[in-house]
Symmetry: C2
Subunit: 160 residues, 2 copies
């Protein structure tokens, strides 16, 4: 998008969602079905960090429980009452609460919506080079291919 | 703060505000009087980007109108109706709207609260090394000292 085509400001809910097909291989992709992520920072050409406005339907989850080696992450709850699951157990969140996850901390986390209402939150992550991801509850990891691209692998290193 | 002392999640409004005295030299500091910034990311030890929950009283402003050379910035409006002033002029914002400012774009910006109600927003900025700041409306710039520390200077380069 050319610089002159970028808006000054936008309604966050008007940003087109990311395509749902990207991301995990099956059977993991189905577990985040219904999650809708709107990439807000991309609209303005931001590259140093990403900001998503994300909606979880009842029964939805933000991601598989995971921890990044190289990227900081942060979430701020706008609506609803998700559960934050971390290495410490479960914590009930509500609108106006936030949580942060330091790169390399090893504290694997995700949000789960066990309510009958939608959960809406902002999620921010930087885009550190060379990031890999650990999913301690699943036979999954996100590795770096020799060319630097991201690849999903089994625990034993075999690619999906 | 030791790792084990960090909370899993927090009420954003319960985070202690940053000290108001830091930042601009006078007469500029007085122009952002009343602005209250809560550094949310710091609570969790994040270092790749900062997240502030910021409140502007009636008549307040987010900052002098400015643009960063090296840092991306993003704001998301939670409450109230600020004016976003940029190189393009003025845009009225409301809850659920957002704006982003790419590093080096030269698009100087700030939020102004001309209403009788408080404005509340999240502001995110990364922490790129070597950042400098231009304030096109004021006799002010933020430069890098030889030791890498940040220093405020006049337009002609004299330090404040």
């Amino acid at each position: 998008m050319a610089d002159e085509a970028k808006p000054v400001a936008i309604e966050a809910d008007a940003v087109p969602p990311s395509p749902p097909g990207r991301g995990y291989p099956e059977p993991f992709a189905s577990r985040v079905a219904g999650r809708v992520r709107r990439p807000l920072g991309d609209v303005f050409g931001l590259t140093h960090f990403g900001v998503n406005l994300t909606r979880l339907p009842p029964g939805g989850m933000s991601a598989l429980r995971h921890t990044h080696r190289s990227e900081d992450e942060f979430v701020y709850i706008l609506e609803g009452n998700p559960i934050l699951a971390t290495n410490e157990g479960e914590t009930a969140l509500r609108s106006g609460m936030c949580a942060g996850f330091k790169a390399g901390s090893g504290n694997a986390h995700h949000l789960i919506n066990r309510t009958e209402s939608e959960v809406v939150y902002l999620e921010i992550g930087d885009r550190a080079a060379g990031d890999t991801v650990i999913y301690p509850d699943d036979d999954l990891g996100r590795a770096l291919a020799p060319d630097g691209s991201r690849m999903f692998v089994h625990r034993d290193g075999r690619p999906y």
